[in-house]
């Protein structure tokens, strides 16, 4: 206590309104610190095997002591006698640096040293070294930051120190326990924008800090002035677009929707340290915590590659502060605890009970792994939360993406897991993240189509609904380039994921219609515009499919995937999603399927035709009832086209009068190539996909027969043959024939 | 043994990595084999240092002994210093005296001591007639500072000396004077040539690195190498520019030779040239002042890097003579002006 008192005397906290009680907190913090260090060393002994680590622990304790001395030294300030000053200073600096980079510093130590660094007691070189090693062991207390900011007003530190401080703030933002008081200083930070050197960093910091209530007309004006003065700097642009996002009415200037990264990775100074902090925060919780929360929190030891997974573990501030106070009982804990932290949240009812006081983790990335918190984020719709999450996501995606890290591509596994988690969260929310969209824009051109294929394509399938023609050049054209030059397996997976994409868009749109809320004004999508978008997407897939079939020499395997797209999604849009849209497949797919050698393809085709018929008749009925026609969606062309296909099918399979109306084939050609009976050769009996059925049908009837004459199937036998086909599982064919062919016309 | 010497020894030993401890102590040859055997080298470094200092105390080590240890450490870690090359010249027609190492040492030391009073000079003979000199500087009224010494490596009977760069620039003229007088030269000039790799500097200065080159037939190894390449290669891969490739190889080899290049880690070019353009337009054309710019090349092994530029297809062969003249001109700091 003696030393603590001395320290208080010597420290010269600048007087600002926020800090009237800073003396007291200092003292408290000091005590707390001692408790902490005691408990820390004991728990360490408990965890590790005592023999092996006792030496290590000794060394750690020594370092700890040295650190204490060093911290006290800095606090007292430099001695007048300069002879020995340099050496001692150097020694203490080294101590602080080594401990900071190894274990991180406790909140109280950061508090003191941050004060020292910004108070200008030492030279700017020392200040910058101190700032560089302000690495938290776990968290940074908000008060320290507020105090530090107050030093900026006194003007004792030079420009470069200020810059470094802001960079530090940005880098450590997620580790600051609360932000409310810091947010109160918003005006101060905003004023600092005028300093040209500080501006980019302050912008970045404000980008993280801004809440809706911070957006004020006068600030917008100021920002626009700044932009006029300094030109279109990406950082100003970022802040402006954030403001516009919060309050679109305030900013009438149109900002181009830039999708690139606004801020350079300013925090790379601390990058390795941050990984370490994250790792530390992720370590299994120490003993007292487990007791409080019950056995459910015991986390299984993760496998090695997962041990520093990219996603931080839930760790909200108040909680970790509390557990430092030894001897607090569970009841105390629960009763005094107003904010309900993320780690405590275990069930949905809990979420409902505490939804008013839920405290989100200090590191936003952690919500990705927690479905309850995802629920919460989804329903509170607090833009600043979402923005923080998106910001974190885009940074992480950008930094970890393996094709940007040529040297580091062995961490593919880790990145894959990360993408998987994102996709899981997207599936859970049934919604794509903005940051993933931006990531796709940026990285799709560089993607080789192979690594993380499944994840990457799934990201595509969660691409948020948007105007197709607008995003086509950035996403779909590039995808097409890859598509046409890659293997058939790649083509199949692309089709599969585009199917998912279509489904997501359709769901989104059908929800939208029911809610009658076309909320997103930025998209400025009218309803017919949205329909046009979906239409174009389907058209695009049709184009891809037709050409893919040519490239892969009409592979049946691929054709299955193509028909699947139409069967599962396209043909039933009107009935399933209640959207007035029917898009038929292109002829290249239709005829290929009709002339296929594979009976299941033919069956699939029949089923699709059947569904189209149902949708079209339903649409027609509604049109008649409502007396209103959505002209674009159901042009008479669609019906014509359908009828055309239908005629061709019936002509081939049933009436044995193929291709009469369209006159695609000159009968002379068939004569020339020696197919005399071309008329019947595509009917249900002679069709190459069904011929084997016809033969087995006949063999079943006449097992003794040596030669079978398939042409004998007609009249009554034709009906028996049909039943035989249906019994063999050709349900699509059955539905098609029942719905589209009147039975009187048996050939 | 006074406290200053003990502290000096302690700090020097602390610098030595554990893996090299035994080798360096043996090279020092101050503590006997049997004394060293009494020490447990598996202990923590702090206590090991304590034991060693105790032993030195018993043997009454003096500053000179400690300085020798420091020289040996520096010899092992010579790449941690940046070395400048100095060239000395004689008056034309001056006699070639016989070189006497003893005389050199004593006159060198005498000159420094006369000027400064407080200075400690330590010599250690090294291979190839070289002598390592360690100078800890003091002033008339201040004891020598053992922690900021200057190291000089002088090859006897040559006009070259290598001096570790230090912040004490004021001492350089005096040092030069002592060197010229002691080695019976007339003038000393600092060359624009410096590197961390003392041995490479030496090899370039004494033209030792490519010696066998002249006697070797240049064409044979080249052909052999090409043959080797062809065998490894798939016959379905055809190099269209094989002749050009050969030319590049040959030109590169003519310039750099067959053997590994000495290591330098940087080269610096200061340009002070006027802007010239065929189109007499633009603000630059009217500028009277020369344009100043600094181009710095750096690499862990600059000469090897330069050597591989053309074969890797990153630059045209032959390279600009400005880049390839480093070993011939024995300089890596250039100033380029309009000529």
């Amino acid at each position: 206590v003696m030393s603590a008192r001395k320290r208080v005397k010597s420290s010269q906290t600048p007087r600002t309104s926020q800090h009237s009680n800073s003396y007291q907190t200092n003292l408290l913090a000091w005590k707390l610190k001692e408790d902490l260090s005691n408990s820390r060393s004991t728990s360490k002994h408990g965890q590790n095997s005592p023999v092996e680590d006792s030496e290590q622990a000794d060394a750690d304790e020594q370092a700890e002591d040295a650190l204490q001395i060093a911290v006290r030294y800095f606090e007292k300030g430099p001695f007048k006698t300069s002879r020995s000053k340099d050496k001692t200073l150097e020694k203490h600096l080294k101590t602080v640096e080594s401990v900071a980079w190894k274990n991180g510093l406790a909140p109280e130590e950061i508090d003191i040293l941050l004060n020292v660094a910004l108070s200008g007691k030492f030279g700017s070189a020392v200040n910058s070294r101190l700032l560089r090693c302000m690495i938290p062991a776990t968290l940074i207390s908000e008060d320290s930051v507020v105090k530090a900011v107050s030093w900026l007003c006194v003007g004792k530190c030079c420009g470069s120190t200020k810059v470094l401080f802001y960079r530090w703030l940005v880098a450590m933002f997620d580790f600051i326990d609360h932000k409310e008081k810091i947010n109160l200083l918003y005006g101060f930070f905003f004023a600092s924008l005028q300093d040209d050197a500080l501006c980019p960093y302050v912008c970045h910091f404000l980008y993280l800090l801004t809440k809706k209530e911070n957006v004020k007309p006068f600030r917008v004006r100021k920002l626009l002035d700044l932009q006029a003065k300094m030109g279109r700097q990406p950082y100003l642009h970022a802040l402006l677009s954030l403001y516009k996002f919060f309050d679109p009415t305030l900013i009438s200037v149109s900002l181009p929707v830039k999708k690139n990264i606004y801020f350079k990775n300013s925090e790379n100074l601390w990058k390795t340290a941050l990984v370490a902090v994250r790792q530390r925060n992720q370590e299994p919780s120490p003993e007292p915590l487990k007791l409080m929360l019950g056995p459910a929190t015991v986390r299984p030891r993760k496998r090695k590659w997962n041990s520093h997974s990219l996603i931080p573990v839930l760790n909200s501030s108040s909680h970790s502060k509390e557990y430092g106070k030894k001897g607090m009982r569970l009841s105390d804990y629960l009763s005094r605890n107003r904010a309900f932290s993320g780690e405590q949240l275990k069930s949905f009812p809990q979420l409902l009970q505490n939804i008013h006081c839920l405290e989100l983790p200090s590191q936003m990335g952690a919500v990705l792994n927690n479905s309850l918190l995802l629920h919460y984020i989804n329903c509170v719709r607090d833009e600043s939360l979402l923005l923080r999450l998106y910001h974190w996501l885009s940074q992480t995606l950008q930094e970890e993406c393996i094709w940007y890290q040529v040297n580091n591509y062995e961490c593919e596994k880790e990145f894959t897991n990360f993408l998987d988690t994102i996709i899981k969260a997207e599936c859970f929310l049934q919604e794509g993240f903005d940051s993933c969209e931006a990531f796709l824009y940026k990285s799709l051109p560089l993607w080789d189509g192979f690594c993380c294929r499944s994840q990457f394509l799934q990201l595509v399938s969660w691409f948020p609904f948007s105007s197709f023609s607008e995003v086509k050049p950035f996403i779909f054209d590039r995808l097409a380039q890859l598509f046409f030059t890659s293997t058939i397996y790649f083509k199949c997976s692309v089709l599969e994921n585009l199917k998912e994409l279509l489904q997501n868009w359709l769901l989104w749109l059908s929800m939208d219609i029911h809610l009658k809320t076309v909320t997103d004004s930025s998209l400025e999508t009218t309803f017919s515009g949205s329909m046009q978008s979906v239409f174009e997407l389907i058209h695009y897939v049709g184009w891809l499919s037709t050409n893919a079939l040519r490239l892969e020499s009409n592979s049946t395997f691929l054709l299955h995937f193509v028909l699947d797209f139409y069967e599962k999604k396209v043909c039933d849009i009107y009935i399933n999603y209640n959207l007035p849209l029917v898009v038929l497949f292109p002829p290249g797919i239709f005829y290929l399927a009709l002339l296929s050698l594979d009976s299941s393809i033919l069956n699939q085709l029949c089923y699709i035709m059947h569904r189209y018929r149902n949708n079209l008749t339903a649409a027609k009925k509604n049109e008649l009832i409502l007396k209103k026609k959505s002209e674009f969606i159901f042009s008479s062309k669609t019906y014509q086209e359908y009828n055309h296909y239908l005629t061709a099918m019936v002509g081939c399979l049933w009436t044995s009068k193929p291709f009469q109306k369209g006159s695609y084939f000159d009968p002379e050609v068939f004569k020339m190539i020696g197919v005399a009976k071309y008329k019947t050769s595509l009917n249900l009996v002679h069709h190459p996909a069904l011929l084997s059925y016809a033969i087995s049908f006949l063999l079943k009837e006449y097992p003794e027969e040596r030669t079978v004459n398939v042409s004998s199937i007609r009249g009554k036998k034709w009906n028996e043959y049909l039943d035989y086909l249906f019994s063999e599982g050709l349900q699509g064919l059955k539905l098609f024939i029942r719905s589209s062919i009147r039975h009187s016309s048996v050939p | 043994m006074d406290e200053i010497v003990a502290e000096f020894i302690k700090r020097t030993i602390l610098k030595i990595p554990m893996a090299e401890m035994m080798t360096i102590l043996k090279a020092w040859d101050f503590l006997s084999e049997s004394q060293l055997q009494t020490i447990n080298f598996r202990k923590r470094k702090e206590s090991l240092v304590h034991d060693l200092v105790m032993l030195c105390e018993e043997k009454h080590a003096n500053v000179n002994d400690a300085a020798l240890l420091d020289i040996i450490y520096t010899q092992f870690h010579r790449h941690q210093k940046v070395w400048d090359v100095f060239q000395m010249t004689k008056e034309p027609g001056e006699d070639i005296d016989l070189f006497d190492m003893k005389q050199f040492k004593s006159s060198f030391k005498r000159i420094l001591q006369r000027a400064l009073k407080n200075v400690s000079v330590t010599f250690r003979d090294a291979e190839e007639n070289a002598v390592w000199i360690r100078i800890a500087w003091g002033t008339q009224c201040k004891k020598p500072n053992q922690y900021k010494p200057t190291y000089v490596v002088y090859y006897s009977q040559t006009p070259y000396a290598f001096i570790s760069s230090s912040r004490l620039r004021s001492s350089i003229p005096l040092l030069g004077q002592a060197l010229t007088v002691a080695s019976k030269h007339h003038r000393i000039v600092k060359m624009d040539f410096r590197s961390r790799y003392l041995d490479s500097l030496k090899a370039i200065v004494f033209k030792q690195y490519n010696q066998t080159f002249e006697t070797h037939n240049a064409t044979t190894p080249l052909q052999e190498r090409n043959l080797g390449l062809d065998i490894n290669m798939d016959s379905r891969i055809i190099h269209e520019n094989i002749i050009e490739k050969d030319r590049v190889q040959r030109v590169t080899q003519e310039i750099f030779g067959d053997y590994p290049q000495p290591r330098l880690e940087f080269a610096q070019y200061k340009l002070e040239t006027k802007f010239k353009s065929d189109l007499n337009r633009g603000i630059l054309a009217e500028r009277k002042e020369p344009l100043r710019c600094l181009v710095k090349f750096s690499s862990p092994n600059l000469l090897e890097a330069l050597k591989s530029l053309a074969p890797a297809g990153i630059a045209d062969a032959p390279l600009s003579p400005l880049l390839t003249c480093i070993p011939q001109k024995r300089m890596n700091y250039f100033k380029i002006k309009d000529k």
Partner: protein, 180 residues
């Protein structure tokens, strides 16, 4: 010296020949090796050249596809490609030319902006492929894609021609990355 023309020679039986143009052998050679390792029905040949025009005194098979390799880390490499392009007959640009860009992954090392290559590819109406050739995994996938393109350009895929492929690959004029 001579301009390279696609129709100068008759095709060899089942042969498909690609010409890779780029200064850096260390990048081209492994790519060529990876291509030859691909399982492919055609007889592949890979010609490597530093620049065009090619030496004229040599017999060489008909070239079905030219791929210009640009390393974004070196302005010299772009310059070299730009100069070489002048020695290619216009008919080659009907689907038998591609640009392969390497080094885009490491933004900080780039001395050529991606847009300048994009513009180059647009000006010559030819597809632009990105791949960091230094990374083996990426290189192998790229080799696979090149072999497929080569087979089409050599006319070994029935029903589809080089020009056909080009029109599939060259979607609506690619906008600059700046506009993203």
């Amino acid at each position: 010296m001579s301009v390279l023309r696609p129709q100068d020679q008759l095709p060899g039986l089942n042969a498909a020949t690609i010409l890779l143009v780029g200064k850096e052998d260390a990048l081209l050679q492994p790519l060529a090796d990876s291509m030859l390792k691909e399982d492919c029905a055609s007889t592949l040949r890979v010609h490597l050249a530093h620049s065009l025009p090619l030496p004229s005194d040599v017999n060489r098979p008909r070239i079905d596809l030219i791929v210009f390799v640009v390393n974004l880390h070196s302005k010299y490499s772009l310059q070299n490609v730009e100069e070489s392009l002048r020695h290619v007959d216009a008919t080659f640009f009907l689907g038998k030319v591609g640009f392969l860009v390497t080094g885009a992954g490491r933004d900080s090392h780039c001395s050529v902006h991606r847009n300048s290559v994009l513009k180059l590819a647009q000006a010559y109406r030819s597809p632009l492929l990105f791949c960091d050739l230094e990374v083996e995994g990426f290189r192998v996938t790229m080799a696979q894609r090149l072999v497929r393109m080569l087979q089409i350009c050599a006319g070994h895929v029935p029903g589809i021609s080089a020009l056909n492929l080009l029109s599939l690959m060259r979607s609506s004029e690619n906008p600059c990355l700046e506009d993203l």
